[in-house]
Symmetry: C4
Subunit: 266 residues, 4 copies
C-alpha cells in the first residue's frame, strides 16, 4: 500500500460535475498560493488524499506536534446553485521527483477527476520572464484547445504569447486532460526568477479565476504579503542603490526577449 | 535475492512486545550516534539484517579485512523484567538513495516490527536550526498522535515547536507506524548545519530516552567526543577570531569520530 | 497508457522501404537543426508520435495557445520515383532522461522502423572538439559496419577519425539497428563546446546527406543563422578582444534560433 | 532484449574451474589498467559480453569507424597445465549508473561465474589516501573471509588496514561472491585523488597478482606510462615550486589519518 500511488477518498462524498483548480509548489509558488487562498477563503473541505512513493521521502511536522506524509490533497466546495458545478481544489506539499513519477501521479489525478465526471480543470503556475519585477503582472494561458480558450474571451488572459515549456503538474495535467477529452486551461501569473513566493502574481491569477468562476474572493491576505514584499524590495534597493543597473531589482527585460525565452514553469 | 529488499532474521529469536529505537545516518549523525551508543552500552545482540538494492552500492571494509554490504541491522536487548518489553535497536550504514527506495525500505521496517507485535517506535534525528551552536541543545518531538505525546508529559521534549519537514527514515517510519496503528515519536536533537557528528545533540536525546525507557546509560564516550569537538571549535575560533560567532567556518569533524564514519550523510 | 512508451501512428500511412534521418536535441543541436530543416524544406507530413514517461515531464506551449506533451515525431516524404524508398524524418523536443529510458525509447524507435521494413538509418549529432570554432566544420561518421561505410566512398565523411563515446539516441539507434541487421550511420558535424545552436555544423552534414539522398536542399535558412552567429561572435570578440581566440567566453546563443528552443540539450 | 541485463556467450567455450580477475573503470582507473594489461599480455580471447540498460546510454566509437554499446566483457586464457584452472578477465567501458543497476549487474556477474563452476575472484580497484603520491604504492586487501586472506600469507598485501567503503563492482562482487560461497579478494592499489590514470598503483597490484597466479607478466607498457606521469609531475612541481607545502604534489599525508579516512573505491 505504501509503495504505490494511491488516492484515498472519504466515503459518501460525491462532487457534482466538478470544476477543479490545481495549485502545487512551483515557480514563485504562484499555484500553491492561489489554491491555498481559495481553500481558506471558500472554506473548502478535504475529501481525498493522494500519496505516492514518487514524492520526496519526507513528513511534514504539524502545528500540534503530529506528522503527515508529504501528499496532494483534494478539497470540496459545494455549489450554492441547485445542480451547479461543485468546485474542487487540489493542492499539496510537493510534486513527484522523477519524470516517471510525474507521469504516474498526474495521470492518476486526471483519471480520478474523470471518474467524478469532472467538467473543467484550471491549473495555476508562474511564468518567469527573468529578473524584472512587473508592477502589474500579466496572466498567460495555455489550453487544451479552442473551446477552452473561448471561455476567456474578454478576460485579461493572454493566449499564444508564452513560449517554452511548462514543467510538472501544471502542464501535464492539461495535456492528460486533453487526451481524456476534458477541457482545461493552465493560467500562469507573470513572475520573476528571484521571488520564492510571489503573492502579486497569485493575485493576478485569482482576479481572473474569481471572475470566471463567479466567486467573491477577499484578497486581504495576499495584499499583506504583497506589501511586505514591496517593502523588503525597497530596502534592498536602498542598500544596493549605488550598484547601478544589472542588479536583479527593477531591471527592464531585454527587448523582444520575453516571447522566445524558455521558462520553466511548475 | 540480491535484487530485492530483504530482511534476514536469526532463527529462534522472538522479541517480546518490543519497543524499537531507530538511529540511522542523517543530520549531525545524531540518530546514528544515539543508536550505536545504546547498542554498545546495553550490549545488544544482532538478530536481523536488512539488505536493499536501494542502498548506496558499497561494501564496508571491516577491521579484520572482511567486507560487508552496506545494510541496516536490528539488535536485541532482552528486558530484565519478566514479560517486560524487549528493546530493539535499528541502526546501519546508510539510508535508501531514491524516494521509491525510501518508501520501500521504511515500509518494510515498519511491517517487520509489526510482525513482532511491536509496541512503540522511537526514531532519532537531528534538527538543524542554522549555523549557531547551542550550549544546551533542546530536544524536539513529533509523534503519531496525542497518545504518543502523552508519554512525554513532564519531559524536556518540545512538541509542536519544530517546523518544516523530516527527511528519510526518522520521519517515514513514524508516518508508516501511524498507518499501521503503532504509536511512535521522532526525537530530534538540536544541532547546527556545520557539524558532521554532533555528540552533544545525541546526548541530549539519550538523556530523555534513558529516562523514558528507565535505563541507566553511561555517556562517558559521548562526553569525550563533546570535549574534543569543543576543543576543536575553540582552536578554530582562535584562528578565525575576528569573524565572530555563528560563522559557518567549515569546521572539520572531530577526531574521535565513530568507528565507520558514514559516507552518506543526510 | 500515459505511463508507458507508446508510438501512435496515423492509420493507413505505409512508408515504402523507408530510409530514416534522426535528429534530436543534443550537442550544438546539430541533429535537431538538420532534421527540422529537412522536414520544412521537403514539406514532410507527420504520421506517428512517440510519447514516453522517460521524457522530461513537460508540455510545450504552442503558438496558438495550446499545449503538447514533449515527444518525438515521425514525418514522411514520399519518394518521387515509383517504388523508390520513402524518407522518414524523426525529430522531437527531448531525449529520455535516464539510462533505462534511453534504452527503452531508442529500442522502440528501431523496432518501429523495422516493422515498416526500414532499409537504412542516418542519425545526426554534433562532435565537439573543444572551444575552438572551425571555419569549415568536418563531418565524422560511425557506422553499423563496412557495408554502411561503403555508401560514403568519395564523400567528405571521415570514418575512424572520431574517438570517445556517442551519447543518447544518435549512438544507441545505430547500435540497436546493427543488432536488428539494419544498416546505418551516425553523421556528426564538428562543433564547439560553447555554441548552443550550431547551424554551420548542421549545414556541413546536410551537404553530405543531400548528396547521398540525391535531394536538392535550400540552405538559406541555415545561412541566415550562420551569418547572425558569425556577427555575434565578431562583436563578442571586439568586447573581449584581448583574450584571444578559442576562449570559452560564454557566448549567448544566436538571436534567430529555431522555433522552440529546446530546453534539454545534450 | 535490449531492455534487460543480458550475458551473451560464445557457444562451445567452457572455462575449466576458472579464476576471475575483475577490473573496471574507477578510482585512478587502477582496475581497468590491470585487467586490460593482463588481457593484452596474456592474449586473452573474448568469450562473453554483458549488456545492460543500467550502463551509461552510450556507444563507443571504434577505431575502424564502427560502434559498440558500452559493455562489460569476459576474456579467457586457457591454463597451460592439464586440468589447471583457466583464467577469466572481466573488464569493460563502464559500471552501472544507479544503485539498483549496480546490484543487478554485479549479481549477474557473480551468478554467471558460479554457473561456470568458478573458484576464486580477484577484483581490482584504487584506494585513495588523499592528495599525496606514494613512491612505492602499497596494496590493500579485503576478502570474503579468512580462507581467502590465507592465500596472501607472505605477500605484500595489507589486510585490515583500509577503512571506509568500496564503491561499485570491486566491492559488490566480493560481497555477492561471499553469499554464493565463492572465495574472493579485492586488491586495491594505493593511489591519489588527482591522478585519472595511475599506472604505478596498477603495477603494484599486478606484481602481487602475477606472483599469486604464477604468471610472468611484462610490465614495460605500464612502466612507460609511469615514466610519463612522473615527468609531467616534475614539470608541474617546477611551475608551482614556490607555493610551498599543502599543494597536491608530494604532500605528506596527515599523521594517523590514512586508516580512518573513508575512501571511495571502484
Amino acid at each position: 500500500m505504501m509503495n504505490k500511488t494511491t488516492i484515498k477518498r472519504k466515503p459518501g462524498v460525491k462532487p457534482n460535475k466538478p470544476i477543479m483548480v490545481v495549485g502545487l509548489p512551483g515557480i514563485g509558488n504562484v499555484g500553491k498560493l492561489v489554491a491555498e487562498h481559495l481553500r481558506r477563503e471558500l472554506n473548502a473541505q478535504k475529501f481525498a488524499v493522494l500519496n505516492s512513493p514518487h514524492f520526496p521521502p519526507q513528513v511534514v511536522m504539524m502545528k500540534k506536534g503530529g506528522v503527515k506524509l508529504v501528499d496532494n490533497r483534494f478539497y470540496l466546495i459545494k455549489s450554492k446553485k441547485p445542480k451547479g458545478s461543485d468546485l474542487v481544489i487540489l493542492t499539496g506539499d510537493a510534486q513527484a521527483m522523477t519524470p516517471e513519477g510525474q507521469y504516474e501521479v498526474n495521470s492518476r489525478i486526471v483519471k480520478f477527476f474523470k471518474s467524478m465526471n469532472g467538467e473543467f480543470i484550471y491549473t495555476v503556475g508562474g511564468y518567469s520572464i527573468g529578473d524584472a519585477m512587473s508592477q502589474k503582472p500579466r496572466v498567460f494561458g495555455n489550453a487544451t484547445g479552442a473551446e477552452a480558450m473561448d471561455r476567456f474571451k474578454g478576460y485579461d488572459v493572454l493566449f499564444g504569447k508564452s513560449r517554452g515549456v511548462i514543467w510538472g503538474s501544471a502542464g501535464l495535467i492539461i495535456a492528460f486532460a486533453k487526451k481524456e477529452k476534458i477541457n482545461g486551461v493552465c493560467l500562469m501569473g507573470e513572475t520573476t526568477s528571484f521571488l520564492d513566493v510571489d503573492a502579486s502574481a497569485a493575485k493576478a491569477v485569482i482576479i481572473q479565476l474569481a471572475k470566471r468562476l463567479d466567486l467573491a474572493i477577499n484578497t486581504a491576505d495576499l495584499d499583506r504579503i504583497i506589501d511586505k514584499t514591496a517593502q523588503a524590495m525597497r530596502e534592498l534597493e536602498k542598500q544596493v542603490g549605488g550598484l547601478g543597473q544589472g542588479q536583479p531589482f527593477g531591471a527592464s527585460p531585454p527587448a523582444g526577449e520575453p516571447e522566445h525565452r524558455p521558462s520553466y514553469i511548475r
